[in-house]
Symmetry: C2
Subunit: 204 residues, 2 copies
């Protein structure tokens, strides 16, 4: 077998394992999920899983990175286009490709658990900080470029608006984890947040 | 000893125990704190603590209620005054008596832990929901009364604005638990949120 095929096979296997892990974390949350759950979900042996990931934390970080890297690549790709609407891109980053304000990432509750219960672990803390700044960079870049081309007002600092977007998403994710869907009024709150962004960026 | 004195004594003892528990939860967080930590901090025996509280969860709920009840009583008291500024009252609820936007409740990280890790426990979930709606009621009442007397615009529903206030606070509390203070830019984000509220309530 050529090394290229072997590499491709490995990448595909890794992706399958991550998919199975995702299902497990959505069902059990981070703390209660185990490597055994992931083995069962993916129908692999202990060796088959540990060949790719050394621990539950390792699996989780791979899942977190996957999501953020996709968002970063997608953003960079769209920003390359001439005459791009930075507002549309911002909405896409907030509510997904279909701009649906009623959708919540099913991984959100486990993500919160992962960072909250691990907040006193130096490694997890460092990781959380890196991730915060990486996510911040995505929003910030879109806002900056929109400000540079005159689509957005420069009234507020791009860094501050980007941070407020993260706080809002985190707050909604938190409420969504604790309360039932009908109690959160996700869609209505999201639409009000869009009004706020229009105010801050002076967009019609 | 008259029953009245005995009751007062009991209430004072209970308050002392809650104070000690608060110190413990701020230091250890909810999950890692134990009843033994509270006994040591309050210098009481096991019996002395269990006479007042049956479990760590019981202690924690008492602390949570204390904070919310104080906020509710304070709000009701201020709303009784003629010519009250509903805007000032809203700022007081958000940032405390001194309106300091750089302050964060030191209990916030443990509060998040308490609700996030317990989100699949039916009792904790029910409690979280009750607490959410009780907190919502406080903000909502201030906004409604401000709208009724013409101080605030009726452009947006009081319920929705009140919910967005909770989401914002929850999001900031979350970021503050995971990141260092200098990374959160608490003050700047809070001031931008105040701008948002001015926009939503049409306040100058």
């Amino acid at each position: 077998m050529s090394p290229k095929v072997s590499k491709e096979h490995k990448e595909q296997r890794r992706a399958e394992l991550l998919n199975a892990a995702k299902t497990v974390f959505i069902e059990h949350g981070y703390e209660r999920a185990t490597m055994k759950h992931i083995m069962d979900e993916a129908s692999v042996s202990r060796g088959g899983l540990y060949q790719y990931f050394s621990s539950k934390e390792d699996v989780y970080e791979a899942l977190l990175e996957e999501g953020l890297n996709t968002a970063m690549e997608d953003t960079e790709e769209i920003l390359k286009n001439e005459g791009v609407s930075h507002w549309d891109l911002l909405m896409r980053r907030l509510f997904g490709e279909d701009h649906d304000p009623d959708r919540m990432d099913p991984m959100a509750p486990s993500n919160l658990e992962f960072f909250i219960t691990g907040r006193n672990d130096p490694r997890r803390r460092k990781y959380g900080k890196e991730r915060y700044y990486y996510g911040l960079k995505i929003y910030k870049e879109v806002i900056e470029k929109g400000q540079a081309c005159g689509e957005f007002s420069k009234k507020y600092d791009s860094d501050l608006i980007a941070r407020s977007m993260i706080s809002f998403i985190d707050g909604l994710a938190l409420d969504h984890s604790i309360l039932d869907s009908e109690d959160v009024k996700l869609k209505e709150q999201s639409l009000l947040f869009v009004e706020y962004l229009k105010m801050a960026l002076e967009v019609e």
